[in-house]
């Protein structure tokens, strides 16, 4: 299929998505809309981690840290000075924190930008490390962010966190950002940079021997990934309207990692599909935590069972279907057309 035809098809797909969102906005109840919102945010987070890990081969476990940065920056910017006055009870906020105010779009962008800045700053010393070491060092970075957030009450309100963050993040914002993320990352990966990143992932030494400035490309990938992790965190903060340091534990990174692995490392399509599937599954699994009547037996609800099933699922996937849902395959108009005309795509 010629490239010229994909643009109208993409526009059509976006129009269909828009119509679906409009219908959802009109007919779905609050709980369902919340899940739809979470799906969009999880897709953003999974795509950004997939860029870093699936496409560049950088094993990063620091996503929760970048999300925390995005979430805090965005929240500080969208809360009004009066609100912040009320919020900082134990110690007053720094003057510049109290005064800062920006519209939602700018705030999300700023959240992403600060996260990207930290990504670059951490990346410069750490990206020289090998895979496991990089994983544990980025995990350490995320933990440091959390501990720091706990200990600067004049910036982050300490362990109390923020409450009553304005709930700007609706379906339109979240899906808009998800589309933007998808667009930017797909364009990046289809460019020459994308090919270099995959080359680094597949064989770093060979890429280096070909004259690739491996470190620079790794840094680009890591910074862009951190940016969108920050954006995801910013949207999440405005969606949940409350954040505190405890929210950004390793569990959060684990959930994103689970989506990426289940979807397929190195497949954007996989991340989108798994983002939808796993978000829905996680909500659906709440059933096992509530008491249910099953064929006349009444089973008591077991709190915590949800995460047991969830982690078991990750182990089963990695043991029996290591490449995830999609492997490294992508869904494109070309492959869809190939499927229908029974050509080999």
């Amino acid at each position: 299929m010629m490239r010229g035809r994909t643009i109208p098809l993409n526009c059509l797909a976006i129009a269909v998505l828009g119509a679906l969102l409009y219908l959802a906005d009109t007919y779905c109840d609050g709980y369902q809309i919340q899940i739809l919102n979470l799906i969009a945010i999880n897709i953003i987070l999974a795509l950004s981690l997939n860029l870093i890990y699936g496409f560049t081969g950088l094993f990063s476990l620091g996503h929760a840290g970048f999300m925390a940065i995005g979430a805090y920056v965005c929240s500080i910017l969208i809360m009004t000075p009066d609100q912040k006055d009320m919020l900082f009870l134990l110690q007053p906020a720094y003057d510049w924190v109290a005064a800062a105010h920006a519209p939602f779009f700018v705030a999300v962008l700023a959240g992403g930008a600060v996260a990207a800045l930290f990504g670059a700053l951490v990346g410069i010393p750490l990206l020289r490390l090998g895979d496991d070491y990089l994983g544990i060092a980025t995990l350490g970075f995320a933990e440091i962010i959390r501990v720091v957030a706990n200990n600067i009450p004049r910036l982050t309100n300490g362990a109390l966190g923020f409450k009553g963050i304005p709930a700007f993040a609706n379906l339109w914002w979240n899906y808009g950002w998800a589309l933007l993320t998808l667009y930017v990352l797909v364009r990046l990966l289809q460019s020459n940079t994308g090919n270099v990143l995959k080359a680094i992932r597949d064989n770093e030494i060979a890429a280096k021997a070909m004259g690739v400035d491996v470190f620079r490309y790794k840094l680009v990938s890591f910074t862009v990934g951190s940016f969108f992790a920050g954006v995801g965190g910013a949207l999440l903060a405005s969606l949940l309207t409350t954040i505190d340091p405890k929210m950004f534990l390793f569990t959060l990174t684990f959930n994103v990692l689970m989506i990426v692995v289940a979807g397929g490392l190195g497949s954007m399509t996989g991340s989108v599909l798994a983002g939808i599937g796993i978000t829905v599954l996680l909500e659906w699994l709440r059933i096992v935590e509530n008491p249910v009547d099953f064929l006349g037996f009444s089973l008591p609800g077991i709190p915590g069972m949800r995460m047991v099933v969830f982690s078991l699922a990750l182990i089963v996937i990695i043991l029996f279907r290591r490449e995830g849902l999609m492997g490294t395959r992508e869904l494109s108009w070309r492959s869809v057309a190939g499927f229908f005309t029974r050509e080999k795509a």
């Binding site: 496991d132 060092a137 720091v148 706990n150 078991l312 043991l319």
Partner: protein
């Protein structure tokens, strides 16, 4: 700070450090052999403590018996984890086993939440560990002597196994070159299973003593000590048992002494280890006693 408090702090550092060291040994042995960060190790630590609690409250076992039994049960659990979650992935890319270990870690932690509930539980401490003894003007809890001494005994036993037995020879051979070890007739899978058993036993011992020292049980109690012990292992040079011990004790000293001398930094306590980790990795990525792995083309 007067001398008595200083000695107190030194003893506390040694206690904490030896607890880290015991866990770090498990990380370093598994990493040395399989090049795998075993995230589930911190849950083994936690389960060891819970098993003792069960033995005492449910079966009414005397204290030492409960401890020995708990260590044995936890060691078997460590072997089981290897068999189920890592062994099928021996030929897979290393990252698969790593993800599997994260999965196991969350699985065990959440099973613990389901079975033991998330509320913290009080731990019963035998009285002979609690009555302070006076040593030249310094009040010392027997616990602060018991922990480093028992740890030392366990480490000496480990050194014996690794350097004086055939299994230990196998471990050292596998950590150098796993393929050649297969060819030379080392029973690789059995040696790896024993490694997991020993590592888990040490982690369980550490978890039990941790619960005595900070008498509270929680399903998430293993996470932070687990991370710190791993950092201790990296600091000492991962793959090296001596390194793990040095790293653990150093970390214990840094943590206790920084808070002792700069009480303002107490809130950042959990971040010291991570800062140290990042600094060490930047300056000397292989740690104090580690060997640089070669790039294989």
């Amino acid at each position: 700070m007067n001398l008595a408090t200083f000695i107190q702090n030194v003893l506390n550092s040694l206690t904490l450090g030896s607890l880290y060291a015991l866990v770090a040994i498990g990380y370093t042995m598994v990493y040395g052999i399989l090049r795998l960060i075993n995230f589930a190790h911190s849950e083994i630590f936690m389960l060891g403590a819970y098993f003792v609690f069960w033995g005492i409250t449910l079966v009414h076992l005397p204290w030492p018996v409960a401890m020995v039994l708990a260590i044995l049960v936890t060691a078997s659990l460590g072997v089981l984890v290897d068999q189920v979650a890592y062994r099928p992935l021996r030929d897979a890319p290393r990252i698969s086993a790593l993800i599997s270990s994260i999965g196991v870690s969350f699985f065990l932690q959440n099973v613990a939440i389901v079975f033991f509930q998330a509320i913290p539980r009080e731990v019963y401490r035998p009285s002979w560990l609690e009555d302070p003894i006076l040593m030249g003007g310094v009040r010392v809890l027997p616990l602060t002597l018991f922990v480093p001494l028992l740890s030392l005994a366990l480490m000496l036993a480990l050194v014996y196994v690794v350097y004086r037995t055939k299994t230990g020879l196998g471990m050292r051979a596998i950590s150098k070159d796993i393929e050649t070890s297969y060819l030379m007739g080392v029973p690789v899978n059995r040696v790896i299973a024993i490694t997991f058993g020993i590592g888990s036993a040490l982690a369980a011992a550490s978890g039990i003593m941790w619960a005595l020292r900070y008498p509270q049980l929680q399903p998430i109690m293993g996470t932070i000590p687990g991370f710190k012990a791993f950092i201790a292992a990296v600091f000492g040079g991962i793959g090296s048992i001596q390194g793990a011990v040095i790293g653990g004790v150093t970390l214990g000293f840094i943590e206790i002494m920084t808070v002792a001398f700069f009480p303002d930094l107490a809130g950042y306590r959990d971040a010291f280890a991570f800062v140290l980790l990042i600094l060490v990795l930047m300056v000397k990525p292989t740690g104090l006693l580690g060997e640089r792995p070669e790039d294989k083309v």
